[in-house]
Amino acid sequence: MPYTWRFDVVWDYRAVFERGAIVTAELTGGALLGLVLGLVLGMAKGSRLPILRIPATVYVEFFRSTPTLVQLVWIYYSLPILTGLQLSGILAVMVGLGLNAAAYFAEIFRAGIASIDRGQMYAAQSIGMRYSQAMRRIILPQAIRRMVPPFMNEVANLIKLTTLASVLAVAELLHESQNLITNTFRPLEVYTTLAITFAAIIFPIIYLSRRLEYAWGAHS
């Protein structure tokens, strides 16, 4: 007997996807706070001083080499045992993904800064700029343009990683979808819709990245 697709069932529950998408967006937004930590880590990792470079490297490699799912579960279940600090599911995911994303952002920042020719720093310093001024006004504006494509890539990954929040019973898209499946017995339609919803969120980001790259390609 051929399978009959019933997307009309999913359509009836479209509010569930809207609700889930909002939670997914919140999780992503929270995790993007990892950007600040990533910038600090990235500068530290590129530093000449071992006291900055080594801890930053350990941090980055630890988060890159352990499963993100385990990191989230650990923050949610182990942190309260060790410190008495019990985060809500949604906060645990924001913190966990933020710390995780910071490791990847750090690498993007470090590589972006390292890709700028040394002569730019020399030139900036030769007209009397301090290191921090040269970084802010000369190096970073150029490096950021090169960081945009890998950064957008990482944001797209981050959005998809928010689905891991479902294991902590956070009502993001995947969790909402799974609930819906138990109600409707329509896993194929629900998962297909879930995929389309993610594509609808992520594709505009990738498109924007392309446009930025194109616009900035003009004079650099």
């Binding site: 020719d117 020399y122 030139a123 310093q125 030769s126 007209i127 921090s132 650099s220």
Partner: protein, 258 residues
């Protein structure tokens, strides 16, 4: 007795790992003097130049600029420590530098490149910095190019813009690190012309170059470096007609006659 030198280098040493790039350099540059440094590649010329404004740290010896030690301060116990960043920056602001690869800021227009130092470092008003920048761009023949990005310029134009950027700080001395080596041959002249004009105006200049014509015509003194030491220092007339050191003779023979 002669006046105190503007830049005085005493027994300067610098190593990268195990490779000793500078092995005891002594040098004096007086105000208004044009010193041309020549020598084979790898002889330490560029490293010496970058030590003068402390873009590179040096390991041993002294560099004095206008009576003050460059880059380090001496503690009560006689140990040397690196100067604070603000002090280093203030020193570098007084010494202009022009690089082999121009190193213009590609995300800024020519005018923005030139006003960057005056507005950000010297905190001049935008109007004042603009007036100065346009005057200097006029001087290097780039008035028409003020609003464009460096990538649209020829190499010669980029280097002239870089000279204007350095001059905008009203430096007391200018360092030129092989300013024409990255240029197509037909563009070399326009950059050298600007440098000659500066020399006639009395700018103190230290120029690392392979342009022997420039050295002969403009230099007050030519210094020949080889393998991290100064092998000879003389007037251009002397060094080009009767070099006293065989290594100078060999080097000049090669660059002058191919």
């Amino acid at each position: 007795m002669m006046a105190e030198a503007m830049i005085r280098v005493v027994d300067l040493h610098k190593r990268y790992g195990t490779h000793e790039v500078l092995r005891g350099i002594d040098l004096e540059i007086h105000g208004g003097e044009v010193l041309v440094v020549v020598g084979p590649s790898g002889s330490g010329k560029s490293t010496l130049l970058r030590c003068l404004n402390f873009l590179e740290e040096y390991d041993r010896g002294d560099i004095w600029f206008d009576g003050a030690l460059v880059g380090y301060r001496t503690l009560a116990n006689g140990r040397r420590v690196r100067e604070r960043e603000s002090t280093l920056a203030a020193l570098r602001a007084r010494i202009g530098m022009v690089f082999q690869n121009f190193n213009l800021f590609p995300h800024k227009t020519v005018l923005e490149n030139v006003i960057e130092g005056p507005t950000i470092v010297q905190r001049k008003s935008l109007a004042e910095a603009r007036d100065l920048a346009l005057e200097l761009l006029g001087k290097v023949g780039l008035t028409q190019k003020a609003g464009v990005y460096p990538s649209t310029l020829s190499g010669g134009q980029q280097q002239r813009a870089a000279i204007a950027r350095a001059l905008a700080m009203r430096p007391e001395a200018m360092l030129f690190d092989e300013p024409t080596s990255a240029l197509d041959p037909e563009l070399v002249g326009e950059v050298l012309d600007v440098m000659k004009k500066l020399a006639t105006e009395g700018m103190t200049m230290v120029v690392v170059t392979h342009e022997m014509g420039f050295a002969r015509e403009v230099a007050d003194r030519v210094v020949m470096m080889d393998d991290g030491v100064v092998v000879e220092s003389a007037s251009p007339a002397e060094i080009f007609t009767r070099p006293s050191h065989p290594r100078t003779a060999a080097f000049l023979g090669k660059v002058l006659h191919g």
